[in-house]
């Protein structure tokens, strides 16, 4: 049975449309016009226990709104939602006991008190057995390096320190599902890496289901086996990361560097049987662009190596950003479940 199941889940907000200028503002006092914003518009989700899911989309696509419905913060406008058999906003107490939530933008801890005091308070709130609590805290301290942070008030932590503490706090009660909304935003590479390792380990050891929204597509590449993409409130892709990369027609680039200069007409003639975009960066360096699957890559490389004195070959893999952009440009690739 899926751990999260949603059918035509929607959240609409009524937004007041402001008229421009002072005159508009005065008019607005008397008569207001409203518009309905369909932040999330009829999405279907089915998540299995133990999955790590990357939930991506551009700003304002409805990612956070979805997370807020799944965590019980927002009441859906329409559709059905069950998380571990519970309706989050109706069964709030029981539901939130089994989830952990981290918002990258805002801490879940109490601003004014020291980290360890916040942890101790959480132990009481979630009624975590003392031994269990001590063990887990010890482990988190080691893995996330929290020892030096425990006595600092939350408001004095740097972003990276705060993120590590927030992550530890969200897992103290060993939740079945971990929601991470932009967990690596604004963090440096080293902290990002330690946070990813921690998430991966938690998933592996505890079987924690992870739902992750991010703008950093390397988070997705390193953690997620499945990607769900949302745009303007609707799902536009739901499937494997690799399938997504293969399905979308992305230009790949092959950079060729030669020992001797080559003139353009010779290059054109040599490659006339291939459907390539050919650009000379300078007489020694050429950029060949092509669609994945349209060109027999090994054959092309063989030809280049055989006929030219090649100093270097470099293949650029498509960035996920480009895949995302292309899906948006082309609309649904037909896989949105």
């Amino acid at each position: 049975m899926p751990i999260i199941e949603a059918h035509s889940l929607s959240k609409h907000f009524k937004r007041f449309r402001r008229r421009p200028g002072l005159v508009g503002a005065v008019k607005d006092l008397w008569h207001r016009t409203y518009e309905v914003v369909r932040a999330v518009d009829g999405i279907d989700l089915s998540v299995e226990r133990g999955e790590i899911i990357g939930y991506i989309g551009p700003n304002g696509a409805g990612k956070s709104t979805t997370i807020k419905m799944l965590t019980g913060i927002l009441v859906p406008t329409a559709g059905s939602l069950a998380v571990q058999g519970l309706v989050p906003h109706k069964d709030r107490y029981r539901h939130v006991r089994t989830i952990g939530v981290v918002f990258g933008q805002r801490t879940q801890l109490w601003w004014d008190i020291a980290v360890i005091e916040a942890f101790n308070l959480l132990q009481k709130i979630y009624e975590i057995p003392r031994d269990e609590y001590r063990q887990r805290l010890k482990k988190f301290n080691q893995v996330l390096g929290l020892e030096d942070l425990l006595n600092i008030p939350v408001r004095k932590l740097s972003l990276g320190q705060r993120m590590r503490c927030d992550l530890a706090a969200s897992l103290l009660h060993n939740p079945a599902i971990l929601f991470l909304d932009e967990p690596t935003i604004g963090l440096d590479v080293a902290v990002k890496a330690s946070i990813r390792d921690f998430i991966r380990e938690t998933n592996r050891q505890q079987g924690t289901t992870v739902i992750l929204t991010t703008h950093d597509l390397s988070d997705i590449e390193e953690l997620c086996s499945r990607v769900i993409m949302i745009d303007a409130g609707k799902l536009i892709y739901d499937g494997g990361l690799r399938e997504l990369k293969e399905r979308v027609d992305i230009p790949r680039r092959l950079l060729v560097e030669t020992i001797f200069p080559i003139n353009a007409s010779k290059m054109m003639l040599l490659l006339k049987d291939y459907r390539l975009g050919i650009t000379a960066l300078d007489p020694y360096r050429w950029e060949l662009s092509f669609s994945k699957g349209r060109v027999n890559l090994p054959q092309l490389m063989q030809l280049l190596l055989d006929t030219l004195e090649v100093r270097d070959l470099e293949l650029e893999e498509p960035a996920i950003e480009e895949i995302v952009r292309q899906i948006y440009d082309r609309g649904a690739p037909g896989d949105a479940r």
Partner: protein
């Protein structure tokens, strides 16, 4: 019962954290405490010099007015100590999205909002108010019998509940109207009136303070009864009912409001 014990224990833990975090900034705390003490002292100075010049207003003697003022100050002070965070509800919690965090914990949302900040700096108001009432009672030859002391304690609790309910309902309106508590500040003005014998005002203001925003039940009616004013028996019986009615309205506003909560865009 088990739930009650659980929440009491948590309240203690939150309170301990508040004290710790305030004590981490001891200078801040004492500045706040002293400023508060000054404000309350000015109030005392004002009312004592006023009553010194006008020994009687509409049948209320100088010490009777002081007694009512003292009780009212203590009640409002207690409300401020325990429920100060209600004034943050509109801005920090509802409009800025701090309520998200509240909804993610397996605890009552109202309990959390109220408990996350306890304002010990407002304690001087309670102490000064009680001192003033005690002084006035002495002048009026009202001995502190156990019955009277118990009634004052009940009046404090009941009055505190009335203020809490009214300001909860008002702050809760932010769930509907994106307003940073300007209605609450209008009603806050009414609290000033509630420190005087309600009968010195015109009929309409007296009715508003009794039946609409029932602040008169917080200090005035219980005090009038202690001062043995004729006709105050009925009103003192109504006081807990006023608190209950206000609490029911507040609870309804809260429950519906939370369902409407829209969080803040990220």
């Amino acid at each position: 019962m088990k739930r009650f014990f659980f929440y009491s224990q948590l309240y203690g833990a939150y309170l301990a954290n508040t004290v710790k975090s305030r004590m981490a900034y001891r200078a801040d705390f004492w500045v706040g405490f002293t400023a508060n003490l000054m404000i309350q002292l000015i109030g005392v100075l004002f009312i004592t010099s006023l009553t010194a010049r006008i020994p009687q207003i509409r049948g209320w003697g100088r010490h009777e007015i002081l007694f009512i003022f003292g009780i009212a100050q203590a009640v409002f002070g207690l409300f401020n100590v325990l429920f100060t965070n209600l004034f943050e509800l509109s801005g920090r919690y509802i409009l800025e999205g701090g309520f998200d965090r509240v909804l993610l914990r397996p605890l009552g949302s109202y309990f959390q909002v109220v408990t996350e900040r306890i304002d010990l700096e407002d304690l001087p108001g309670v102490l000064l108010g009680l001192l003033m009432a005690g002084y006035a009672a002495g002048k009026l030859h009202l001995d502190p019998t156990p019955g009277r002391v118990a009634l004052v304690a009940l009046a404090l609790a009941n009055g505190c509940a009335i203020y809490a309910a009214v300001f909860t309902a008002l702050a809760g309106l932010t769930f509907w109207f994106r307003d940073r508590g300007s209605i609450a500040s209008v009603v806050l003005m009414l609290e000033g009136f509630a420190r005087y014998p309600a009968t010195i005002f015109g009929k309409w203001l007296q009715s508003v303070l009794t039946w609409v925003v029932p602040f008169a039940f917080a200090a005035f009616y219980p005090s009038a009864w202690l001062l043995r004013k004729p006709g105050s028996g009925t009103m003192v019986v109504l006081a807990p009912l006023a608190a209950l009615a206000a609490a029911l309205v507040a609870a309804a506003v809260w429950r519906r409001g939370v369902r409407r909560y829209e969080s803040a865009g990220s």
